[in-house]
């Protein structure tokens, strides 16, 4: 978060400042002119805000807010699943079994090299048409809504959308897992060989070697890029709106289309994502600092 350190921070206007300021003013004026007169858009923020925060027919949570909650749930469960998968795949790159190593490497390579959009289209078709029926999950999700207890609703949202949520969670966690796996792999690769060998020659069992010797050291290196991946996960979650997962982007586009307040609603959605990601990054940085403080810092 440091600004360019070697430059004086005291405000001394330069010629560049003047030029930029002029450009800024011109651009802003031009944008205002075009929107107000060019395309004659009538901004109506009051209307937009009241539409967005209006409760549904029966006085339940406003639609827009359900979208925000869904994005939060999607991101939280996605992060949990992606972390588990990512760690397993990242560690799998170091497996003694060659086939497993190649499999994990291939997973990372492929998922990181095809567009997320293409992946979710393939994967959504695969899970909705094959996986769900195969595992009998659709039966599970088609239960009567009254069965859901309060905490289940809190954790997973309304039962009618559980299947919807699961699809979204699976999609984003499969993608995010590849990136997390790469972070984990790089973190493990940075641990000197001697650490493994010392653990082995002392006869510390393999799992304990990971748990006590390798992971704590890897964690200090993994934590910063990992927080970046979590932010990316929140952002990437917006694309599952394209497979009709009812999260913020999906809800935003519904409201924008039905109200016709395109400008206001899309700017509002962007603003909400901005707030989400920014506060998440501040929060995670805090957590990261607290977590790594307990590990002794070494040169």
């Amino acid at each position: 978060m440091s600004t360019t350190g070697h430059i004086v921070s005291r405000f001394r206007p330069t010629r560049l400042d003047g030029i930029l300021l002029a450009v800024l003013i011109v651009v802003a004026a031009w944008l205002w002119y075009r929107s107000a007169i060019g395309v004659a858009y009538r901004w109506d923020w009051a209307q937009a805000l009241s539409t967005v925060f209006a409760s549904g027919e029966s006085g339940d949570t406003p639609f827009f807010l359900t979208g925000i909650y869904a994005t939060l749930r999607l991101s939280a469960w996605g992060a949990v699943l992606a972390t588990i998968m990512g760690v397993l795949i990242g560690v799998g790159r170091y497996s003694g079994v060659r086939a497993l190593r190649v499999f994990c490497g291939t997973y990372i390579q492929i998922l990181r090299n095809i567009p997320p959009l293409v992946f979710i289209f393939i994967f959504y078709f695969f899970i909705s048409s094959q996986l769900m029926p195969l595992l009998g999950l659709d039966a599970l999700f088609n239960r009567p809504a009254e069965d859901a207890s309060g905490w289940q609703r809190f954790l997973f949202g309304p039962p009618a959308l559980w299947e919807n949520l699961i699809s979204g969670v699976l999609c984003i966690s499969f993608i995010s897992a590849a990136y997390i796996a790469e972070v984990v792999r790089a973190g493990l690769a940075a641990i000197p060989r001697g650490q493994w060998e010392a653990g082995e020659s002392l006869g510390i069992p393999l799992l304990d070697r990971y748990r006590f010797v390798i992971f704590p050291q890897a964690l200090a290196r993994i934590a910063p890029p990992l927080t970046g991946q979590y932010i990316s996960l929140v952002k990437d979650s917006s694309i599952v709106s394209l497979i009709s997962v009812q999260e913020l982007t999906f809800v935003g586009s519904e409201i924008a289309n039905s109200s016709g307040l395109l400008f206001e609603v899309w700017l509002l959605v962007a603003f909400v994502y901005f707030l989400l990601c920014l506060s998440l990054s501040i929060l995670l940085r805090q957590v990261e600092r607290r977590m790594t403080r307990h590990f002794h810092q070494f040169a």
Binding site: P192, G194, Q195, A198, S201, G203, I204, Q217, H296, F298
Partner: protein, 253 residues
Amino acid sequence: MSDETQPIIAFENVSKWFGTFQVLRDIDLRIGDGECIVICGPSGSGKSTLIRCMNRLETHDRGVVRVEGVELGPGERLPRELRGKIGMVFQSFNLFPHMTVLRNLSLAPMRNLGMDKERAEQTALAYLERVHIGEQAEKYPDQLSGGQQQRVAIARALCMKPDILLFDEPTSSLDPEMIREVLDVIYELTDDGITMVCVTHEMGFARKVSDRVIFMDHGEIVESAAPDEFFDAPREERTRAFLNQILHYEASA
């Protein structure tokens, strides 16, 4: 003398390759229980590889290795019952940087031998005393000098009560003034009757401590003799050349 009793380590016709490069050539070697061996030879001659084949950090490709009566074929790792029984001290210490000295020492006894924390720490403190560093138990490795770190590493290996202790150039990354303290600690261990194999170029140490000195070159054991004989009357031309180089270096240094 080692020929009469059952050797604790035996290499029979052992060869190893890295790709197409042969690191070990038909190694035959028998080390008796309680013996102290020093291995020397030019850099890249296969010394590290040889001793790493003893605790199976490396595996060989041809021949047979026998450790404590257990026969190990090509590619075989250390069987469970021997894990931790062959300690190793590395050139670069390899202490766990995120743990205190005490934790470095007590981890393996707790996880491998199932010792409870209290006993493991008692043992750890006892060995720290033995390497004259008892007061540093709560420090982290990077707060210690190189010589102290290496002594911690020795104590850490000892905590597993190993039958064999391997040293791979334990003083090579130390500043000159710290070499002595580490060598002294190793010397004191000879009283314990533990089998020791030490790769080192400290010739004074070799003469004083070892029962036998082995000279390696190009993956072969060129000469193996008692220290007096080895230094005063080396049989092989290559040994003489090597010793000349080292002594010449030491004289001019």
